[in-house]
Symmetry: C3
């Protein structure tokens, strides 16, 4: 099982605690699931948008990049958290589905949420709105490093999301994060089992070392 | 088919792009669907609320206007985006349903969302809360011009909403907006068909003039 | 029927109007249902968190208190509305379910919402996120008075929530609030019945004294 497949065993709470154990910050504040109940896993294909300083004199086409995105990648779009214009909608979703792209994360607004929910495409974004980004923002970079709310995202870093939100795992730390998450999952199960067998939560947490749940010292 | 019926063929993304093509702003920022999956279409009946500067000395009744609203109108309430008191709830919803009012848009908070969702009444608002506006705000106008987040709404302008949010179409531009939306819809379908037939998205957008999708030059 | 059981007849709109009638403020701004369609009723067990000023030198365990919470109580956690770290998740939910705790209200973020929704545990919070509060905040008090957005919550005050949000009823006013809510409910039903029988809403509100719906003068 490759690392991406192994990630599928976990949820964002476990991966976030594993990032904490590695002293890494990876949580993307304010990015929420648009379709509920979907898991997002895959390497980042990054896209950056920048606002036009003045309205362009002639009509612009939308930014093109999706033809370059490999299957199973996660598109990560930085539109600076803007609530008032969108950079993702139904045409891009249909193309993404045809190309087997794993999902999309938008720091900004998205539209066509009815179709997207119906199609079960994993989409996470800051806002829902219907006003197009066309002639308001332009694609200013792709496969460049992004910084979203203070968190760095490099191309091929791993995006990981569920109904709690979205995390980024630096690619070079993926193995370590999975190892820690695996122990955290076992520790939490051991705590629950202890409580079910009559222990207080306080005692169960102490015995199973919930202070450092990746230790598995008494697992 | 009259213009209101023709509108029913579209969604807010198409209508918003048509407004862009007409160089009109009509999107109402921060107003969200309360019941999901409902479409809202109809001419505005506007209502304005103003906060009491000091708490009134005696108890006040709620503002009355709903007996004046014609069937198929959309009630648009401006309570200045206030999160902390409501101007819409179950009694008004029940009366609106009896009078075949098409729906309600509140720039502010609403309550009784359980009943409203169950009754499938199209309601869009900024917030959900339970604290009444009674003795906190009073009806200061009806069938007057509103300005919500910079967007002007005149009585009988057309409100149009779905799960992406709510737009207002100035009545005098309705025919033009529908014509443009119709072409936009065909252009987008042509782009999707091209991609399904093997085109890249970039090429499909170029051929079908996605920069000005209302042209239909190659439709 | 004891007072808590009587409360079950009402919704937050009715109870909020009864608080208004008693000139009491009890609505908790910005706290929303995490699982929809759940009612929350019970006496408060309060917990307070405080941020570490500097990151602790060694790993900390989570704050313990849940072993002290009696059945049917509502846990109320004040984490100062923080969006960026959680103080509630699946282990606490599982323990709460085993101990028949009535629900939890968090002024702050929660995680593991998938499990919590599936388990139908009544949870209300300001935000959803996945980053743990461990080593970021510590339990600084329990069964102490809280002040959330200006509203005082004392241990054993009654928490009352539904899809419109959450209220707190001061324990010493519970009987008075229930009496007023009961009359409000009857007045509102009388208004609806009048409208169904052909009255205008304005007339129905005047006859049934909607200005002071707890009077029941014409009930």
């Amino acid at each position: 099982m490759n690392l991406i497949e192994q990630l599928n065993e976990f949820d964002t709470a476990e991966i976030s605690d594993a990032l904490d154990a590695c002293d890494l910050e990876g949580a993307l504040l304010g990015i929420k699931p648009i379709s509920c109940g979907k898991k997002l896993i895959g390497p980042a294909f990054t896209v950056k948008y920048t606002a036009y300083e003045t309205k362009p004199a002639e009509f612009k086409n939308a930014g093109n990049y999706i033809d370059d995105v490999p299957p199973h990648a996660v598109i990560v779009i930085d539109n600076h958290g803007r609530e008032d214009c969108t950079t993702w909608g139904d045409i891009l979703t249909q193309v993404a589905l045809m190309r087997e792209i794993a999902g999309t994360v938008v720091f900004g607004a998205v539209r066509d949420v009815n179709f997207i929910r119906y199609s079960a495409y994993p989409l996470f974004a800051s806002h829902i709105y219907m006003r197009s980004g066309k002639n308001r923002v332009y694609k200013s970079g792709q496969q460049c490093e992004l910084v979203i709310n203070g968190i760095k995202i490099k191309p091929n870093d791993i995006l990981f999301g569920d109904d709690n939100g979205v995390l980024v795992i630096p690619k070079e730390h993926l193995q370590e994060v999975i190892n820690k998450a695996s122990n955290i999952k076992k520790t939490e199960q051991a705590i629950i089992d202890s409580v079910k067998n009559g222990s207080s939560l306080e005692t169960a947490r102490k015995i199973h070392r919930y202070d450092q749940p990746w230790l598995m010292s008494k697992g």
